[in-house]
Amino acid sequence: MYLSLRLLAPVFSLCTFAFVLFGVDAMALRGTDALRKLSFWIALVGVVISAALLVFPSGPEQGPHLFGHQMLVWDGLSYFLSWIAVLTVFFVILLSERYREFTGLRLSAYFGLLLLAAVGLILLSAANDFLMIFLAIELIGIPSFILTGYLRHKEKSSEAAIKFFLIGAFSSAMLAYGISLLYGLTGTTSLLGLHQALPLLQEKAPIALLAVFFLIVSFGFKIAVVPFHMWVPDAFEGAPIPIAAFLSVAPKIAGAAIAIRVFVLTLEPSTVGISSALAVLAAVTMTIGNVIGLQQTNVIRLLAYSSIAHMGYLLLGLVAATTMGLSSVYIYGWVYLFMNLGTFAIVIALSNAMGSTEISSYAGLARRAPRVSALLVLFVLSLAGIPPTAGFFAKFYVFAAAFDAQWKWLVVIAAVNSLISVGYYFKILHAMYFQAPTETSDVELTSSSLLTLGATSFFTLAIGFAPQFFLGRSQFLAETVIPRSSVSAPGTPAPSVLVPAGVPSVPAPTEAASEPTLPQ
């Protein structure tokens, strides 16, 4: 009991602050500057406290745990995604401060919804049961829809929210289909139960395949793999840019994480051809994302396609499905978070200063704002995977993982893709450095965007130059996932190794683990 409370402390703290913010929103009549400032600080303090709660008592060092009637699990994967969630929300809160389009709005509910989305992300990271996965996905989704449409007076924002909502509802329905088929086959919604029923799934291959297909479609919408990516550019363009930044990182990596949990750790990827399906999806995703990216003239839409392509690279680690693959997904997730949020931080600052996100409006920026431009060069080079930035190392790592797992054709496609991506990333550099400026005013940065830029650029360089520290950490996390074969009872730490892909695992030894868990 104490353990579950301790592990859930960040969730409780985020919820508390979210409801405080909703309370403030309910009391407030008009959106004044003071109110916005107050909400901003409440949200920021809430995230920082939750981050502290995440650090102190519940690192994965004590080994993986199952808790909450086995609905939840705490292991390396949960730890990884929780941090992604908390950090993303932290940076997004910073970026929302004094965002141009927010003037005159009450932001308390906005920040509250962000915190709730973080709760959903953390619960998803820890979900060990399909019901929990469903709940968590909805808890991420609904705040995301509202946040996308938060600019009530902007038509595009509402349109984006509706599109996003319809697609989200569709994908939830797919998930429900998948879950119900699996429940029908195995009589359990627990991931552990499912893992033990693997032989049964293989026996009932056609229906199991159908179920897996539904799951892939549903998670595919979350990760936004092609052909389930259509919502991304529209949602990004319509949403307030800080929310686009949020959507480009946390929910996508969360989708990848839950795909790892279900496809790699629970179902063994080679058994029903999941790896091949994911490999094809990865190849199509990065190719389509990059090729369509070439035609974009708006930075937000460009980043939308870039984020699609990046999820394609990240899937390489998932396809590899080895410890190295998992570890490479973690590194890629971290690096992507920093470089992408760094890019968005600059795009937001420039949008605040110039009121435009067209690439053409960046003309001659290098002369107007040399420092901002230099930072953007760093982030863009990192996104394009040019050494010595972190983006290169992350790409190198997923390539190596996939290569090691004998997915050589996929590595070749990914490598050619990173070449294509240079074609559009460098449009930004081209505008900033090669074209003549139309204005001469400098771009001012707020202190919160300075903080964001400082942190993201630091990590974008640090992971590039000295990846060993981060590598060691992510390898540790990749080894500390709940191994379905040697699950420990709650509270007792267990040494753990990941089951290598393709090797049939031993059934779980403990009584508790084999018992299907149903909601009370």
């Binding site: 390539f399 460098f426 450095y433 090669f434």
Partner: protein, 491 residues
Amino acid sequence: MHVLSLITFLPLLGSLLIMFIPKEQKLLVRVFAAVAAAAALAVSLWLWSSFNGTTADLQFVEKWDWISAFHIKYFMAVDGLSLPLIVLTTLLSLLAIIASFHIEDRIKEYFFFFLMLETAMLGVFVSLDLFLFYVFWELTLVPMYFLIGIWGGPKKEYAAIKFFLFTLLGSVFMLIAFLALYFNSNPHTFDFTELLAQNGVMARNIQLWVFAGLWCGFAVKIPAFPLHTWLPLAHVEAPTAVSVILAGVLLKMGTYGLMRFSFGLLPAATQRLAFWIAVIAAINIVYGSLCSLAQTDIKRMIAYSSVNHMGYALLGMASLSVAGFNGAVLQMVNHGIITGTLFLLVGVIYDRAHTRDINAFGGLGTKLPVYTGFMTFACFASLGLPLLSGFVSEFLCFLGAFQVPAFRTLTAVSFIGVLITAAFFLILIKKVFLGPFNTRWEGLKDMDSRELMATIPLVILTLVLGIFPGIVLHPINVTLTHIVDLLNKVP
């Protein structure tokens, strides 16, 4: 003593410090850039003088763990193969920086990128860990992209991105080849010496695949037919000093990588493919010279002559003989010096006349005696006149190639290239410097001191290396003999 790190990062340090100089202080920026480059040159000359030429061992080794999860090391060392290229790089960088003193536009950025480029190039030649090598290799692209794209000619933006994409196309395949080397070695390593020690472990057909991947990376840089199409555009659009570096140093990265990594680590594949490399070399020689012959733009003509001259080096390498290897490395150095001079001199006339059309001039010999003297000298050096440096290296390359029975016909065909090279350089001299004086150029001034300072050291070197090629050949010979021995030991 971390002398290699010192050489490599001195320019980078300079480039970072330049960012702190206020942009109004133009003279200070220029002098500071020159000082940084001169410091690197001084250290590299010290390196040359204390290099032991009687052993093929790696010298000045620096080796630390960098990313231990992948056994990636920070591993730098020199041997006879890289030593001349390091000195060539620091020398040409300094002269190119002096030659760009007249740049007024955004000079802080210019010298920042220039010195960063120098660091990246030096890093390529001293790194012996494949990962570190790749990092430096890619790092050359970014400053070059900006240097061409900001300060280049009319089509600079297209030239910059074409250069970037072409090279990146090659290097992504190179990266995959490196991954293949890593995962096929046991224990897995990116360390050049460890991979060398494991030579022969890899099956021949894996070697062939890896060779193909590496070839993509290196052939783009050399540039070997048919991957050379970026070169004329980039060379022509780049500002003078950048053309010097492009032709003088960047192309050598390709031949260096090929000799060091492809030949060194994949002996079986190399022997199998040597004939085809020689075929490509012959195409480079003949086709490059024919393209030169067809040009009316002087800079373009010299750009294509690079394709031709790198063909000689490639032919020498493909012979897998000591004479051929010596000739190839000497040719790399000579081509850097001579073509560097030629690009500097083309820049001189373009700055004044704002045209490079060969037919627009005529009779400049009477008006610009100094310039004419240097240009004629450089053209003769480039076409391989005995007593000037180009002759020695071309001769050695052909000597090496002719020793291989299978290459006889190819070598004979390649000689046609030498003839055509002489033809287009003589045509150039005739049309620009001889004949009736074109009065349109009445107001042209002869070379100023900045241009002389950049050119004279190269001209002297051309002459000295033509008479005493031993200066370069002596320290490289033992290493190259060792590489050839390793290659021929494989059954």
